[in-house]
Structures are given as C-alpha cells and as structure tokens.
C-alpha cells in the first residue's frame, strides 16, 4: 500500500522540486523570471482546461474570459471598494467559479454537445471582451489599468510571484492526483468514455461535470487575478481568446490530454516555442494556429504519454502502472471520449 501511495505522490513531488529549482537555474534575470512565471500561469490554466475538456468533454473556449473576470474583479474591488487585496482575490476566484459552474450547468441541462458548448463559451468570451472594452469609465477600455498597488504585491517581486504561482500549480496538481486516486476518478473516467453508460451505472453526470467546471473555473479565476497583479497591467487584449485560450489548447495537446503532467510539460514546451517565434511579431499567431492543426492531426497523444510508452517499452510490461492517469481505452486522444 505504501509503495502505491509513494508512486502516486512521486510525480507531483518531482514536478514540484523541478519547478522550484527553475529560478536557481535562470539566475536573477527579471526577464527570464517573468518567462518562467508566465509558464506557470499557462500551466495552471492548462490543468484546469484538462479537467474541463479532457475529462468532462466540456470545450470551454472562455478560459481567457474567466481569467479576465478574476483579474478585473480583483483589481476593481481593491481600487473602487477599497477591499483588502487578499479578500478581493478570494472574491474574484469565487465569482469565476460561479460563472463557470453556471455555464456548465446550463450546458449540461440543455444537453449541449461539445460543439454547442464551444460556440456558447466562445460567444461568452467575445461578450466579455466587448463588455470590458465598452465599460470605459470602469475599465479604461483598451488602454487598460495599471494594477500596481491594487494587488497582493506580486508585481514588485518576481521571485515571490514565481513561488506563489508555483504553490498554486503544485496544489492544483496535488488536487488532481487526489481526485483521480479517489473513487471520483473512476466516475470521471467512466463519464469521459461514455456519458450515457456512466449515467446508467449510477453516476450523477450533471453533478460531476458542474463540480469539475466550478473547480476548474475557480482555478482559472484565481490565476487570472494573480496574473493581473504580477503583470502590473491588464487590458482586454491580454485575456483575449488568441492570447489565452489558443495557447492553453496548444499546450494541453502538446503535453498530453488526460495526464497529470501533460499540462505542465506542454506549458513549458509552449513557452519555449513562443519565445523562439516572438521576434517575428505577428508570426506568433500563425505559429499557434499551425501548431494547433499539426498537433491535432498528427500528435494527438502528446509528449507525456509518448515518453511513458517509450519508457514502458524499455522496461517491459512492469511499467504498466506508470501510466499516470489515462485509462488504456483513451489512446485515441481527446475526441475519444466525446460521448454521444
């Protein structure tokens, strides 16, 4: 029993140690620290999106919108209502969780398939974007808000920002690990394979989907609020679909859907690629799009499952247990479990 427990905790602990060592490796360069912190932000979004899209078939194309809800809510609560920053971040998290849970509830109750959820959440994203642009006296429109002094002070200390985000990411990985080690994990696997069969075998699909969406949206809102603080500036475009949702989708596909470490590995790889194409300006958008197409066509399993397979081949059948969380039937990738 204890070896099973150790094996389950080991990947989270290993990831935590490796990520904790990153600032030591990059030295004190503020630019590198910023890149590393943004990688963690992307990793957190991807963990949440993995739960939404990978495990419960909910294509939420509103990750950026939920993050902007968290970011703007936390900043405005401090600026206009003079609330303490920590309380404001907490309230912003709750607001995003409630919004995501509500969207999920509506989608599940109306029986929306993956396409309808995608369209509705995309529409919600665009509404949020236009709302932030339109409420100029509150949000300054496209000019944005300088957030210094309206947060918990992550903008002043890159190292602190990094380790706060590190803690959030490690905690969410731990939560993910716990979830899939518990009976709930089995239920989630069942419903991501086939929702009707899961419902018939006594799993409350609605409750699981809404609960997952609420938790994931809360995480997105929290990270969005922390991002507002550490970035020192927010505007509608830093949370736009092209800046948040597409990178999250690419990072998750790159790393591996329905795996523990896929979102983190994907976020790291994406950050490297992003840095390589950054000098080419608008070409980054082209690269994101092309990467999404290529990944989805040719490499749907992602890096983490691939490495595991290679390792398993090396060690023979003894490595069966090393598969992190995806059940064998999910080799087909994302679309494998879209249900009917």
């Amino acid at each position: 029993m204890s070896t099973g427990w150790a094996r389950r905790v080991f990947p989270v602990a290993a990831a935590a140690v490796v990520l904790a060592a990153v600032p030591l490796a990059v030295g004190g360069s503020p630019y590198q620290m910023r890149l590393a912190t943004l990688m963690l932000v992307l990793g957190c979004y991807a963990v949440a999106f993995n739960l939404l899209f990978g495990h419960t078939n909910q294509l939420f194309l509103c990750v950026g919108a939920l993050a902007s809800l968290g970011g703007y809510a936390s900043v405005l609560l401090v600026r206009d209502l003079k609330l303490p920053a920590v309380l404001a971040v907490g309230l912003a998290t709750v607001a995003a969780a409630a919004a995501g849970g509500f969207l999920s509830y509506v989608g599940v109750r109306r029986g929306f398939g993956v396409l309808f959820v995608g369209i509705v959440t995309l529409a919600v994203s665009l509404m949020m974007h236009n709302l932030l642009l339109g409420l100029r006296e509150l949000t300054n429109g496209e000019t944005g808000i300088v957030t210094r002094g309206f947060g918990v002070g992550l903008g002043d200390d890159p190292r602190r920002a990094y380790y706060v985000l590190w803690a959030v990411l490690v905690a969410s990985l731990g939560g993910y690990r716990w979830l899939f080690g518990s009976p709930h994990g089995m239920a989630l696997h069942a419903l991501s394979e086939d929702e009707v069969s899961a419902e018939l075998s006594g799993i409350d699909v609605t409750r699981y989907k809404v609960a997952c969406a609420t938790a994931a949206s809360g995480l997105i809102g929290l990270v969005g609020a922390l991002y507002a603080d550490l970035n020192g500036f927010i505007s509608p475009s830093v949370y736009a679909v092209g800046h948040v949702d597409i990178p999250v989708l690419v990072a998750l596909l790159l790393g591996g859907v329905r795996t523990l470490l896929g979102p983190v590995v994907g976020a790291a790889l994406f950050s490297v690629v992003d840095e390589l194409v950054r000098p080419f300006g608008q070409l980054t958008v082209l690269a994101y799009g092309a990467l999404l197409v290529v990944l989805f066509l040719l490499f749907r399993q992602g890096v983490v499952p691939l490495v595991e397979q290679l390792a398993a081949r090396g060690r023979g059948s003894a490595a069966e247990g090393a598969r992190l969380s995806a059940p064998p039937a999910s080799k087909e990738g994302v679309a494998g479990g879209t249900g009917r």
Binding site: L59, R110, I119, V120, L126, L283, F296, L297, T338, R340
Partner: protein, 284 residues
C-alpha cells in the same frame, strides 16, 4: 432611412457569408471557423491586383476565385481527416482544425500584409432614388449580392450537381445509395462557400473597406446568423441575415459598436438556449 438601407445591404452581405457556413455545416457536418478568413483571402488578392493597376472588375473576379480555391484547398487537405470520422467526432476535429487554420491565416495576413486594404471607389458617390440620397456603393453591392443569390438558386434548382448537393444535405447515406458522389458534392459545396465569401469580401471593399484583420469579425457574424437563422432552409438564413443586418446597422448607429456586439452575441446565445434542437442541427 439611410440606416435601414445600409442595414439591408449589410444583411445581404451577411447572407452571402452565412449561406456558405450553413451549407458546409449542413452538408459536411463541419463548422468552418476559418470561413471569414477565406473571405478575407479573396479581398486581399483583389487588393493586391488593384495595387498592381489591374482593372477593378478583373481584380474582383480573381479575388472571388482565389477565395473559392482556398476553400477548395482546405477541403482537399485539412478537412479530409475530419470527413473520415462521423458525428460528434467529426464536428470536434473539424472545429479544432479550422480554428487552428483561422489563426494561422490571420497571423499570415497581418504579418505579410499589415497595411493592405481593399477599397474600391465608384465614379459617382451617390444618387437620388425616390427623393432620398443613396450611396451608389450600397446599390451596387445590393445588386451584386442579389445577382449572386440568383445564380446560386439557379444552380441548386436547375443543375444535376445542384440537385445532388441538396440530396446529400437531406440524407447523406440515402444520396450515396442513389449513386450520388458525396465526396464530390462536399468539395463543390466548399468551393461554392468560398466563392460566396469572396463575393462578400469584394462587396465589403465597395461598401467601405476590407482589411487583413477582419477575418474573425466575418466568421463570428456568419456564425451568429447561422445560429439565429437555423440551418433548416436557405430562407431562414436569408431572413436572419437581413434582420441582423438591419439590427446591427441601427444599433451601431444608436448605441455604439461594443453594445451592438454584445446584443448580437446575446441573441445567438439566447437562441441556442431556447431552441437548441432546431438551430445548427442537420437539415431534415
């Protein structure tokens, strides 16, 4: 009055865009999120030719053809893996692939041609019709759209291929059993949707101007129309286009762009919530 007329012309433009997206969805089970970018491709090719001192008519025609060819190319390459799947898997795969394609195309346009814009000017800016002053461009674009629709209807009702396409929309398996080449019908439909989008883009060049960054706007607008109009019939799409065109023009005039966008999107979401089964479902 001018606002209403502008709205109607905008509605016709929207109809050209949306009929394509609706057709491809109804027939191929593929929601093309790069539809607006296909239209912009046509407009940009036309703009390049105008820059090279070609006659605007030639430029427009070649631009429309270019949009059609781009859609054709997407059908032959990008969407093939999607066609091999069925039902929701096909939808999801095609959704992600065209989303990726839309970003790739957008990135390419704004990177390669950041300042290129299609803006065609007519010799006489406005004329008097029934006592009101009307922009010549509005009339020209309206006539162009209506003529294109006439051609489309004639094709669908009058030719064998058009009938085959209507068969596949009604029942893919049934049409296949009757000897209709489903694959070919799909390819032709994508080509047609590209041509229609190209006409809309060139029309936009007459109406005001067309820039390299307008792809997402086109896609979203046609998506909203497709959702609101449903994909039951050409008429539904057509009516929804005209309605939303007028609403769009009127709201932009009275309350500003941002609120207009929010209102249009809210209408689409509300439609999905109230009548999800009839909207964006396969044709009967």
């Amino acid at each position: 009055m001018g606002v209403i007329l502008d709205g109607l012309v905008l509605g016709l433009q929207l109809a050209l865009l949306s009929v394509g997206i609706v057709f491809v969805y109804g027939l191929g089970g593929v929601l093309n999120l790069a539809h607006g970018q296909v239209a912009v491709a046509g407009g940009l090719v036309a703009a390049l030719l105008v820059q090279a001192r070609q006659h605007p008519a030639v430029a427009g025609l070649v631009g429309v053809l270019a949009a059609g060819l781009l859609a054709l190319g997407m059908d032959r390459t990008l969407l093939q893996p999607a066609y091999r799947r069925r039902g929701e898997e096909r939808l999801l795969l095609a959704l992600i692939l065209t989303l990726g394609a839309s970003f790739a195309l957008d990135g390419f346009y704004t990177f390669r041609y950041p300042n290129l814009a299609l803006s065609l000017r007519l010799a006489k800016p406005s004329v008097e019709v029934l006592g009101i002053t009307v922009r010549t461009a509005s009339l020209a674009v309206g006539a162009l759209s209506l003529a294109t629709f006439g051609l489309l209807l004639a094709f669908l009702k009058g030719t064998r291929l058009g009938k085959a396409i209507r068969c596949v929309i009604q029942n893919e398996a049934g049409a296949w059993l009757c000897g209709v080449d489903v694959d070919r019908a799909r390819t032709v439909t994508l080509f047609l949707s590209g041509l229609l989008a190209g006409v809309a883009a060139v029309g936009q060049g007459f109406f005001s101007f067309l820039g390299p960054d307008m792809g997402p706007e086109f896609t979203i607008l046609s998506l909203i129309v497709a959702v609101v109009g449903g994909v039951r019939s050409l008429t539904g799409t057509f009516l929804a286009s005209l309605l939303l065109g007028v609403v769009n023009a009127a709201l932009s005039y009275w309350v500003g762009t941002y609120l207009t966008w929010i209102a249009l999107l809210a209408v689409a979401v509300a439609t999905l919530l109230v009548r999800p089964e009839g909207l964006l479902a396969y044709w009967p």
